[in-house]
């Protein structure tokens, strides 16, 4: 092993970085070069020509797009995300705590969802075509069709309004005790878990089933091995890569679900921040948050690919 494996991983990382740059161009282009004039859409139809001209000047809209892009990119690379138009606040410093809040929420949702999905996936495979499998698969199919806010408000209605176990709004603040914070995020984290669970479970089931139907599993059975030995020695080592892939794809999916869930629970995270500023047409904030979301998404996909490279015996032990 060694060099060729390291090469492949390096290639994948380089590709990820390249992709991120391309995406930054795309996001920039999406907000700057589209037919709508940013200044006009910010100020609305009643704006005076003078006000428009002032805003254009302030936004640097009079420079060519390429100049503005590199100016923006230079800022991003040095940690300067610019200033919000609506609040005049530094974006990077208001983003910090929100990013942390979002990661906290997503982390706990993942902590619950990932093991649960893998266990349910394994159960579905173990009792394949039986009632357990059919129930799990049926529920999974149904829940992939549910909008996030249906799950979210149903949870609120049941657990916050009727049973009054948890607060309906997830208010968190600095220096909040850990247990209180956990109680505050209980409902949004559950909603997020339910949003990704079905998907992750179905994909895990498919991945494990694929491995369990391989000829080498039959070979192991015909050696007289016990089911657990078969899973530990033959199924698991080959299922790791597909399962990591499933988990990463769904974490990426979770990152998107977080936007709607944060709005439902008025949780002070990145998603809510993004939605607020889209309504205010605050382009610098939207660009910055969009780029961060995209970076996380690309990063998770990259990790999935790298994991697949690392556990592939063909690549680990080249001819």
């Amino acid at each position: 092993m060694g060099t060729s494996l390291a090469n492949l991983v390096a290639q994948r990382i380089a590709f990820g970085i390249l992709l991120l740059f391309a995406v930054s161009v795309l996001i920039f282009a999406g907000t700057q070069i589209l037919p709508g004039d940013v200044a006009a859409s910010i100020l609305g139809q009643s704006a005076t020509p003078q006000a428009l001209a002032n805003l254009r000047e302030e936004l640097g809209l009079n420079d060519p797009a390429i100049v503005r892009y590199f100016h923006w990119l230079g800022g991003v690379l040095t940690g300067d995300l610019g200033t919000a138009l609506s609040s005049r606040q530094d974006i990077a410093s208001s983003l910090g705590p929100r990013l942390w809040n979002t990661l906290f929420l997503a982390f706990w949702a993942a902590v619950v969802a990932v093991p649960l999905a893998i266990i349910l996936g394994l159960l579905a495979v173990r009792y394949r075509n039986g009632p357990v499998d059919k129930t799990i698969s049926g529920l999974a199919l149904a829940s992939t069709s549910l909008p996030e806010f249906f799950i979210g408000y149903l949870l609120v209605f049941l657990f916050a309004v009727k049973l009054q176990w948890f607060p309906s709004l997830s208010t968190v603040y600095d220096g909040m005790p850990f247990l209180e914070r956990m109680k505050a995020i209980a409902l949004p984290a559950s909603a997020l878990t339910l949003v990704v669970l079905a998907h992750m479970m179905r994909m895990t089931r498919a991945a494990i089933l694929n491995v369990m139907q391989s000829a080498y599993i039959e070979t192991a059975e015909l050696k007289g091995l016990k089911p657990l030995q078969i899973i530990r020695r033959h199924a698991f080592p080959n299922a790791v890569a597909p399962i990591i892939n499933v988990v990463m794809l769904n974490l990426a999916f979770l990152i998107v679900g977080v936007v709607v869930v944060e709005v439902i629970f008025v949780y002070p995270g990145m998603g809510q921040y993004l939605v607020d500023h889209v309504s205010k047409r605050d382009v610098p904030v939207v660009q910055a948050v969009g780029l961060i979301f995209a970076a996380v998404y690309i990063g998770l996909n990259m990790i999935a690919d790298i994991a697949a490279i690392l556990v592939n015996p063909r690549l680990r032990h080249p001819k």
């Binding site: 806010f149 889209v278 979301f293």
Partner: protein, 281 residues
């Protein structure tokens, strides 16, 4: 085999039947909302969040409008916009995907790389970024939703057409000297139809969910028009007071997407049993 094929035609599984009936009902609402709605869209007919009564079967909403009437109008808007976006994404995606598969070369490379790039950003995030600068109207919505979603149709159409394009029966047609018209429309298309049709259902569900999410976030359909996602937003504050009005449009979205899912699933199974069966299997 013949018997098997014939039986599928005659028998519809119970799940698909429920899906079909529900889809028909939704379609009926979408077309005839104006005539069956008991009250007007913006008509204030009672108190805020009145419970269900003989006059107002689903009660009233946050401004005292009849919820049933708004549900009917909202369903029309939701289904119409989602259908237009799906039509756009499908036409765009499948034409480009087929062309890429048949033409190949630089055309395919450039298009595929661009689609990869678009798909490297989550659709909702990119949608929000773009909507932050575009005017909020129906055309923008349909364009943004349709174009973003066409990337997935493109990938599927290209993959399916590429697979079929290398099969021996297409090669046999090329060796016979057939033109590309015959090859695309008579050899490839009939075989690509079943995965594409069932994808059509999935894309429509996706469009419904995407539109609802946007409207719920306040970035989709703008008042005074209403769609189901927007109605959830309007009535969400009632939840805290134990008023379930917001759950009704949310549930309708779920019901619509589940029923389309059931039908799409059935179509996929039914058509693959026609083609996929190899006689000597």
């Amino acid at each position: 085999m013949t018997a098997l094929v014939l039986r599928y035609g005659a028998r519809i599984p119970i799940g698909a039947l429920i899906g079909l009936i529900a889809c028909a009902a939704f379609l009926f609402i979408a077309i005839f909302a104006q005539w069956i709605a008991p009250y007007g869209l913006g008509e204030i007919v009672g108190d805020v969040w009145e419970p269900a009564s003989p006059e107002h079967w689903l009660g009233t909403d946050n401004l005292g409008r009849d919820l049933l009437s708004r549900m009917l109008y909202g369903g029309q808007t939701t289904i119409l916009i989602a259908a237009m976006a799906t039509a756009l994404s499908f036409t765009l995606g499948s034409i480009l995907g087929f062309l890429a598969a048949v033409v190949g070369g630089w055309f395919e490379s450039i298009l595929s790389r661009f689609v990869d790039l678009l798909m490297a950003v989550p659709t909702l995030i990119f949608g929000l970024v773009v909507l932050s600068v575009l005017p909020s109207n129906l055309i923008t919505l349909v364009l943004v939703m349709g174009i973003l979603d066409s990337t997935r149709v493109y990938r599927l159409a290209r993959a399916v057409a590429t697979d079929i394009n290398v099969m021996d029966f297409v090669e046999a047609a090329k060796l016979r000297g057939e033109g590309s018209g015959w090859i695309i429309f008579r050899e490839i298309l009939p075989n690509a139809l079943s995965p594409l049709v069932s994808e059509l259902g999935l894309r429509f569900i996706n469009a419904v969910l995407f539109l609802s999410a946007l409207s719920f976030l306040g970035l989709g359909v703008q008042p005074p028009d209403a769609d189901w996602g927007g109605m959830v937003k309007e009535n969400k504050d009632g939840i805290v007071f134990g008023v379930a009005a917001a759950l009704i449009p949310a549930g309708a979205i779920a019901a619509l997407s589940i029923s389309v899912n059931l039908v799409a699933d059935w179509i996929l199974n039914r058509t693959t049993s026609l083609t996929g069966g190899r006689g000597d299997a």
